[in-house]
């Protein structure tokens, strides 16, 4: 026995050792990684995880402005070293520049490199670096990137800016802001398509004042611009300046600007620009009407959701009352649940434990809640039979909930003395670690009965096959459709989907709970009727082309469409 442990320990040690031998970075490949502009540490080629170099932080407050009082052709860059605690300063700064061309790419080129001590001015706001980039064209927008470099560590800051705005944009008075965001109209009428027209803005209904919907009539001759894109800009004043809000492709004629949360009540104006893909050619619309995002009290989009909730609840409550008044209901036998008592009895006879596996999800999954409810019922029977119960869990909250449940169950079975905290145990949150742990318990303790109830993923078959190999009676139940085939193949009984949710009611023999099952059946019946009715209507509408059938079909599909949000 001891020998095996020594070997296990040696094996673990052997696995850990390479970890500690990994630390030295490969100096020779650093140059290459720096050239590639790779952010991170060390070369990419050694197969180790590239984690981000948080200790080496990028410059901050990078700003690019037109150089004042010149004849154009120059911009001024300013930035500060990263002020974060513990951030190491770089050894040098490298400045890159790009113009936007080539289908949305910015090929950056190095324009300057200097040590930390150059271009530095101390102001009341601390250290500021200034750099003037000259020899630029007035026609283009430029993008800058400043990298703080130390050894093989690179950290970047980005900024976009056009130079020396000298072009007048006509009716839309200030597109300058547009230039600053990189969507510059170098030639305003260079686009073969017309500007979008009839731009209008309106509050998005049924929300909490978060969004404004912008709609427009698409550009004429849009087909002459391959990759035509509509860019949407907004401003609080109809005359601008306009800020970029977003962009959509040519096949759309509306945009939802949903960034207004908290800024409710402010009026916004929009312009829509038809642009080519690169954003170098523009045709800009007139400004829209003003619109403000408002909060609505009731979300009418959710009406069908409520209808179903109310109808289902009414039926469930009705049947509970119905059964309370002493009426009998027929409940179909669930073979797997019928077998529970027998399986517990078998374990008792064999003097072996019972294992309950509540799945790998946390308490916020309904399947886990259903599983814990069943655990309560099983624990009660177990307490009565005086058998050993094992319940390994994968989540701490499931463990604490499970413990309370089992404790209460033992108490109500009159066996509080038989309870101890080791019944429900925690193994690990990690999926396959949990499987390994549960399989180990199975192989060592050889439970006579194993119950798998809850939410399972890929581990289902690995556990169920191991259970099968030790000859346990296995009862499974899950609402994960993908795992059902595995359980059916490897277990003696399997509760399929909704049976898992019915199981607790079934085991309780409590009339109130059985009533809820009946309510659920009515829901299913309504669903079936809806499917038959809808399919018939769709067939009739398709075959006859009748308008009324189409209208009715639209109603039915609206009834069954769940809206987002």
């Amino acid at each position: 026995m001891i020998g095996r442990f020594v070997w296990t320990a040696l094996l673990v040690a052997a696995m850990v050792t390479p970890v500690f031998a990994l630390d030295a970075p490969d100096e020779s490949a650093m140059e290459e990684s720096a050239e590639a502009g790779a952010r991170g540490r060390g070369p990419a080629g050694r197969g180790r995880v590239q984690h981000h170099a948080q200790r080496h932080l990028p410059p901050v407050d990078l700003d690019v402005k037109d150089e004042p009082a010149d004849e154009g052709g120059a911009v001024r860059l300013t930035w500060k070293p990263c002020p974060k605690a513990g951030a190491a300063t770089g050894e040098k700064f490298v400045i890159y520049r790009a113009t936007r061309s080539d289908a949305g790419h910015w090929p950056f080129e190095k324009v300057g490199e200097f040590p930390l001590t150059d271009h530095l001015t101390e102001s009341k706001n601390g250290k500021v670096y200034r750099y003037v980039d000259e020899g630029l064209s007035d026609e283009d927008a430029y993008y800058y990137r400043v990298a703080a470099v130390r050894g093989d560590l690179w950290a970047y800051a980005f900024k976009m800016m056009g130079t020396t705005p000298a072009v007048d944009f006509g009716p839309v008075s200030s597109i300058r802001q547009v230039i600053a965001y990189g969507d510059r109209a170098a030639i305003r009428n260079g686009l073969p398509a017309d500007p979008p027209t009839e731009v209008s803005a309106a509050d998005k209904p049924n929300d909490a004042g978060e969004a404004i919907i912008v709609t427009w009539t698409p550009s004429k001759h849009a087909d002459q611009v391959p990759g035509l894109t509509y860019r949407i800009y907004r401003s609080e004043k109809p005359e601008g300046p306009f800020d970029a809000a977003g962009s959509v492709s040519a096949d759309k004629n509306s945009y939802m600007d949903s960034t207004h949360k908290g800024g409710e009540g402010k009026t916004w104006y929009y312009v829509v620009a038809a642009t080519n893909l690169e954003g170098t050619k523009f045709a800009v619309s007139d400004a829209s009407n003003g619109a403000a995002a408002k909060t609505q009290i009731i979300n009418w989009e959710q009406w069908n959701y409520f209808l179903f909730a109310v109808v289902l609840s009414v039926f469930i409550v009705y049947f509970i009352q119905h059964i309370k008044s002493g009426k009998k209901l027929f409940v179909r036998k669930i073979a797997g649940m019928e077998a529970v008592d027998e399986a517990i009895g078998r374990a008792t006879e064999m003097g072996k434990p019972i294992m309950f596996v509540p799945g790998i999800m946390d308490m916020n999954d309904v399947q886990t809640v259903a599983a814990v409810a069943i655990l309560g019922r099983v624990a009660r029977t177990v307490a009565e039979y005086d058998t050993r119960l094992m319940c390994p869990t994968s989540k701490s909250l499931v463990m604490t909930t499970g413990r309370e449940t089992v404790k209460e169950a033992f108490l109500s079975a009159g066996r509080p003395d038989a309870y101890n905290d080791d019944i429900v145990t925690y193994l690990t949150d990690e999926q396959f670690g949990y499987v390994a742990g549960v399989n180990g318990m199975m192989v060592r303790d050889k439970p006579a009965t194993i119950l798998y109830l809850g939410a399972f993923y890929a581990e289902s078959l690995i556990m169920a096959e191991t259970g099968n190999s030790i000859g346990a009676i296995q009862i499974a139940g899950t609402a994960q459709p993908a795992q059902l085939p595995f359980f059916i193949a490897a277990c003696d009984y399997t509760l399929i989907g909704e049976e898992l949710f019915a199981a607790s009611a079934y085991l309780s023999h409590d009339p109130k709970q059985l009533g809820s099952l009946k309510g659920q059946d009515i829901g299913k019946l309504l669903g079936m009727l809806g499917i038959i009715f809808g399919a018939t209507l769709a067939t009739v509408a398709e075959l006859s082309g009748a308008g009324w059938a189409q209208t009715a079909l639209n109603w039915v599909s609206a009834l069954f469409t769940v809206s987002a949000g």
Binding site: A36, G37, A38, R39, A44, G45, V49, Q50, H51, H52, Q54, L57, P58, L62, A98, D102, A103, G104, H105, W106, P107, F108, Y143, R145, A155, Y156, A157, F158, K159, M160, Y181, G182, D183, E210, A211, P226, G227, R231, A244, A245, G246, S247, V248, S249, K252, Y255, S258, T259, K261, L277, E278, G279, Q431, Y457, A458, S469, P481, A482, A564, G565
Partner: protein, 295 residues
């Protein structure tokens, strides 16, 4: 003990050994079978191929090492296609370890690109902040999707490298999911493709495609074709996709770049072995029944 009895009570370790060999041998000797893309795979390939250059594509890495053999070939193929087509790639992860999967994928691609550039003599731009951005992992599953549906910056004030989102060039005209042209979710379970369809693509009105494990794929068929433009389900479709990629971009046709196709050989042989076991099982079952009747 007769031969029949030996077969009927076969030790499971024999089954395990044969399956082990069936998987190992084709991988070691790279057994390959000719592949013909199924219609949905072709459909997905054409969809991606026909997006205009510069399109904005979000790739969500929602899997972990356990599903890597099945899903990584899909992720790699899609990323290669996006790079070759000149798309802008927005990387996200709904699984904590998905972040590492994304990072490994990007590192691998960086190495690949240098090599492929030498092969084709064509410069392939793949620069951080310009061609791709890695937003990283945020916990909250569909909650994350719900937020980025309206505002990336609210969920991700910075990218995974602590760079302010507002300062990254390719984020300048990308404020929310609605600004994207395509969403790709490569997922091994929950949260994954299903959540992306329900909470992301559908409300945003953006096309979505995805990759799933063979086990998860059947659950997503109900969303095709209206809410889901197509999915790769399992290794076979990944191998088919690699074939399409290799045909269109010959620089990727080398078998060592096509992990899915290599692994597919193993899967094919393993399936045959499993079928042989089922056949043997049935033969013994029938012999058993006949004997039972006699006795």
């Amino acid at each position: 003990m007769s031969f029949y009895e030996k077969v009927a009570n076969i030790d499971r370790r024999v089954i395990f050994l044969l399956i082990g060999l069936a998987v190992a041998i084709p991988i070691i000797f790279t057994v390959r079978f000719p592949g013909f893309p199924t219609p949905m795979v072709q459909e997905i390939f054409d969809l991606v191929e026909n997006l205009p250059a510069g399109s904005k594509v979000l790739v969500s890495f929602d899997y972990d090492p356990a599903s890597e053999p099945e899903l990584q070939p899909m992720a790699t193929a899609w990323m290669r296609q996006c790079i070759e087509r000149g798309f802008r790639i927005y990387i996200m992860a709904l699984w904590p370890i998905g972040q590492d999967m994304a990072r490994l994928t990007v590192d691998q691609l960086k190495r690949d690109i240098a090599e492929k550039e030498r092969l084709t003599g064509k410069k392939v731009p793949f620069e951080y902040g310009v061609n791709y951005v890695d937003l990283g992992y945020k916990s909250g599953a569909q909650g994350v999707i719900n937020v980025v549906l309206t505002d990336f910056e609210k969920m991700y004030p910075t990218d995974s490298t602590n760079q302010a989102l507002s300062s990254i060039p390719m984020m300048s005209d990308t404020k929310s999911l609605k600004d994207l042209d395509l969403i790709i979710s490569i997922s091994a379970g929950t949260p994954g493709l299903k959540e992306w369809i329900q909470f992301g693509a559908d409300p945003a009105g953006v096309k979505i495609i995805g990759g799933s494990t063979a086990v998860q794929a059947p659950l997503l068929y109900p969303y095709y074709p209206k809410q889901l433009s197509g999915q790769l389900g399992g290794l076979k479709t990944a191998a088919e996709y690699e074939k399409l990629m290799g045909d269109r971009y010959p620089q990727y046709s080398d078998i060592k770049d096509n992990k899915g196709r290599i692994r597919m050989g193993a899967q094919a042989i393993a399936h045959i072995v499993i079928m042989l076991f089922i056949v043997v099982g049935n033969i013994t079952f029938f012999i058993d029944r006949r004997r039972g009747k006699r006795g």
